[in-house]
């Protein structure tokens, strides 16, 4: 009978490992998450546009956008007198994307398995 196939070695950590991590720190603040969400929803935005939409002063928005830019979660381009910001999800790279998709797929599969034994009440 065939023996079980042994697992290969663990992947080495790559050149991006550093800490404390600016991406996680950037995402940990709820106002910054809201700003990131708003930039994502609009496609691109200036600090003035975001301050008009959110209960945050323009000055605070600028500081948050700078933190997000330092974490490479947004990129800025000067258009006229203001910077226009857009999402640049490079730090949320393939590994996180994979985890999002694979995690969701397993949630769906395990839910189907569970419902086989616990059908929803009608």
């Amino acid at each position: 009978m065939t023996a079980s196939i042994p697992p290969a070695g663990r992947p080495a950590r790559g050149p991006l490992d550093r800490g404390p991590d600016p991406v996680f720190a950037a995402l940990a603040d709820p106002t910054r998450r809201e700003i990131l969400r708003a930039v994502g929803a609009r496609g691109e935005a200036t600090a003035t546009e975001l301050a008009a939409e959110l209960p945050v002063s323009r000055q605070a928005v600028v500081k948050h956008l700078q933190a997000l830019a330092a974490a490479d979660l947004v990129g800025a381009e000067r258009v006229g007198r203001e910077q226009r910001y857009r999402l640049t999800p490079a730090p949320l790279d393939e590994a996180l994307r994979w985890m999002i998709e694979v995690g969701a797929a397993w949630d769906d599969r395990l839910e189907r398995l569970r419902r086989r034994f616990e059908p929803p009440a009608r």
């Binding site: 009978m1 065939t2 023996a3 079980s4 196939i5 697992p7 290969a8 070695g9 663990r10 992947p11 950590r13 790559g14 050149p15 991006l16 490992d17 800490g19 991590d21 991406v23 996680f24 995402l27 998450r33 809201e34 990131l36 969400r37 930039v39 994502g40 929803a41 974490a71 490479d72 999402l87 640049t88 999800p89 490079a90 730090p91 949320l92 790279d93 393939e94 590994a95 996180l96 994307r97 994979w98 985890m99 999002i100 998709e101 694979v102 995690g103 969701a104 397993w106 949630d107 769906d108 599969r109 395990l110 839910e111 189907r112 398995l113 569970r114 086989r116 034994f117 616990e118």
Partner: protein, 155 residues
């Protein structure tokens, strides 16, 4: 926590033998693991799965521990470099059964991912995604509506 490993678990109100029957053979796996499953659940056996979204996968069973665990390597038929290892474990939990799944990117496939560690270190990744928590609850708390935009933009 390994950033390239996902773990999910579910508790089912059914006895372990009944749940094991849904893991131990293709007939049991069909309908939940994939829409269609063709494989002899025995070490070394190769097979096919058609996922619920229609994608075709190949798999090779790597281990079977009777009434406890099935392990396999699988990959999208069109992307053989992106293989991952899956282990499905079944254990009694009171008068119910707990099913735990882990999926780990095969290191060979890390090269296909660009060989990069995530900008989020392993500890942060684990905290971000919450071992055993629903991904959308944890990630949703942190990213909200930006998630789909971020994932889509990263394509």
């Amino acid at each position: 926590m390994d950033p390239f490993t996902i773990t999910r678990t579910v508790r089912i109100d059914a006895d372990t033998a009944a749940v094991w029957a849904s893991v131990a053979n293709a007939e049991g796996l069909a309908g939940w693991l994939g829409a269609a499953v063709e494989v002899d659940v025995a070490p070394g056996a190769a097979g096919r799965i058609v996922a619920h979204d229609g994608t075709a996968r190949r798999l090779v069973i790597t281990e079977v521990a009777e009434h406890r665990r099935v392990g396999f390597v699988w990959w999208n038929q069109d992307e053989p470099a992106d293989a991952s290892r899956v282990v499905i474990s079944v254990e009694g939990d009171g008068d119910g059964t707990r099913v735990t799944v882990t999926e780990t990117v095969d290191p060979v496939a890390v090269g296909a991912l660009g060989g990069r560690a995530s900008a989020l270190g392993p500890a942060e990744m684990g905290d971000l995604l919450g071992l055993g928590a629903r991904w959308d609850d944890r990630l949703g708390q942190l990213l909200g509506a930006a998630t789909s935009a971020l994932v889509a933009a990263g394509a």
